[in-house]
């Protein structure tokens, strides 16, 4: 392990729960330019961990390192260690496709496959991974659509194109699509930023019910959202060299009420960002 930069990354394990993912001195750079660094914290199982911070602080970049989505970007380099259940996801014997079936992702804008029906979208991940048995697919479709609180409104029109759904429904379909793989961790990159307040509320409620079956890591611009739904919170900030870094990681309650770093307080009080 390399030594962390002095004066940054005050971290702690805020709870005694089991750990889903561990980040040790994680940094991401593009063509030699560091985008985010000094990220060391543990993601506790069956909790919601939020990544907050102003634009450019590297939240999304960090999140996308967790399921190796930077792999295909030329010039991207991830250093440090990211452990999933103790296995290093970059160096261990976990294949990238296996990692991604265990760590699902929901994106900023709803991105259901436009040429597929609701049903086909829900089971797309299973089909991509070679599962063809109809009974299995049917069951996965219903279970995941129920888990995403979408089943009741789409039960009668599973064969309809996914693009006919509203934005909020499309995003819940994307959540169902990820859940169908039965992942251990679900990464969510500002999943409600393209949605109206009511659709946002429904997704937030959903996250609260989902954490019993999946660990959630969510990037959000919305501090109220982070405060409402997350249990733990990582605060990132852009440093002087324009690289994002972890300022503080703690329970959401501590971050918002009693942070150790004055910059965290300034941000959560809305003094900048």
């Amino acid at each position: 392990m390399t030594e962390t930069h002095s004066g940054t990354a005050v971290t702690a394990s805020p709870n005694r729960q089991a750990i889903a993912m561990q980040l040790k001195d994680v940094a991401v750079s593009f063509n030699g330019r560091t985008a985010v660094r000094d990220c060391t914290f543990d993601v506790a199982k069956n909790r919601v961990t939020s990544l907050i911070g102003p634009s450019g602080s590297g939240k999304t970049t960090l999140l996308r390192a967790l399921n190796r989505l930077h792999d295909l970007t030329s010039g991207a380099k991830v250093s440090g260690h990211i452990l999933l259940e103790g296995t290093d996801v970059y160096r261990g014997d976990l294949t990238v496709t296996e990692l991604r079936t265990r760590v699902g992702m929901v994106f900023q804008r709803p991105n259901p496959f436009p040429t597929m029906s609701i049903y086909d979208n829900a089971v797309s991940g299973l089909r991509f991974n070679g599962i063809k048995k109809k009974a299995l697919l049917d069951e996965a479709a219903e279970t995941s659509l129920r888990a995403a609180a979408l089943w009741d409104s789409v039960e009668g029109r599973l064969k309809v194109a996914a693009s006919n759904l509203s934005g909020g429904e499309q995003q819940r379909l994307c959540i169902a699509r990820a859940l169908a793989m039965d992942p251990e961790v679900l990464l969510m990159d500002e999943p409600t930023s393209a949605l109206d307040p009511i659709a946002t509320l429904r997704i937030e409620e959903l996250m609260t019910t989902l954490k019993s079956r999946v660990t959630i890591i969510i990037v959000t611009h919305n501090m109220q959202q982070a405060a409402r739904i997350s249990d733990d919170c990582a605060f990132l900030l852009m440093g002087e060299d324009r690289a994002g870094e972890l300022i503080e990681f703690d329970t959401t309650e501590k971050i918002f009420n009693n942070p150790r770093d004055p910059r965290t307080l300034d941000y959560t009080l809305g003094r900048f960002g």
């Binding site: 989505l69 496709t97 990692l99 992702m105 994106f107 259901p112 040429t115 991509f128 990820a178």
Partner: protein, 310 residues
Amino acid sequence: MSDMTEIQEPKEVGNEMRGEIRRISSHSRARRLAVSRMMIALCAIALLVSAVPLVMLLYQLFKQGLPVIDKAFFTTLPSTPSLIAPNATGGVSNAIVGTLALTIYASVMAIPVGILVGIYLAETESKLASSLRVIAQTMAGAPSILMGLFAFSFVVRDLNVGFSAIAGSFALAVLMLPVIVISTEIAVRNVPNTLREAGLALGAKPHVISLRVVLPASASGIVTGTILAVSRAVGETAPVMLVIAGGFTNSWKPFDPVSALPLSIYENAKSEWPSLRAQVWGIALVLVVFIFVLSLSARIWASRKQQVKN
């Protein structure tokens, strides 16, 4: 009170400015309106100028083409008029069969290869990909007679296949290939990256994403480009005239000499018999209708795909 005046002052300045803006804009409105009308008139004239030759061409085509078309035109083989029967032109069934055969064989050769290469160009960045792209672009601009020369020297002579439908369709396939490659690449590139990422995030391997996400999402663009390439090839004379030998039978066999509609036009137009020269218009009409049906089906397909997406 002094506070009040301080607040009101900038407001009056604002009003003055607004008045000025309104004065100037109303002053120039008449002029802008005149310019706008003039531009619309110019557009109408340009439209007329470009439409007139097209309408005249279609008028000639139907006026001179329709009278020479009857059932025998489609069903009988050509015959040579004589002094006793100067109007015994026969039909052009061999050319219709030939054109259909050439189109089908050329499509079978060019479409799968073209689509695969197009996907490859869009989805990878390598030296091979960029050189292939340059080749495709150069080929798309090459004169079509070159494809005929190439098919003659390679298929007819070197491979010793002889004058045949397969040689002609090879020439047409080479002609179609770059068009299909380029339009496929554009269609695939237009698929939003968020869809690829969605596939990756579900643990799909890159080739699975290409086949099951990217290809369906770009299908309408690919099909449109392909049908346009086919309809371009159907009307080409130059690439086939050197290699198909203008067969006088209704043969679907790939290794037989065949004829083609554009080639029949060329041959008949050179004839000394007025009856054969008159037949040219009928052949041209059939060809135009065939191409029109092809491109219409491309448009209908594209718009229907669009509706599914919305």
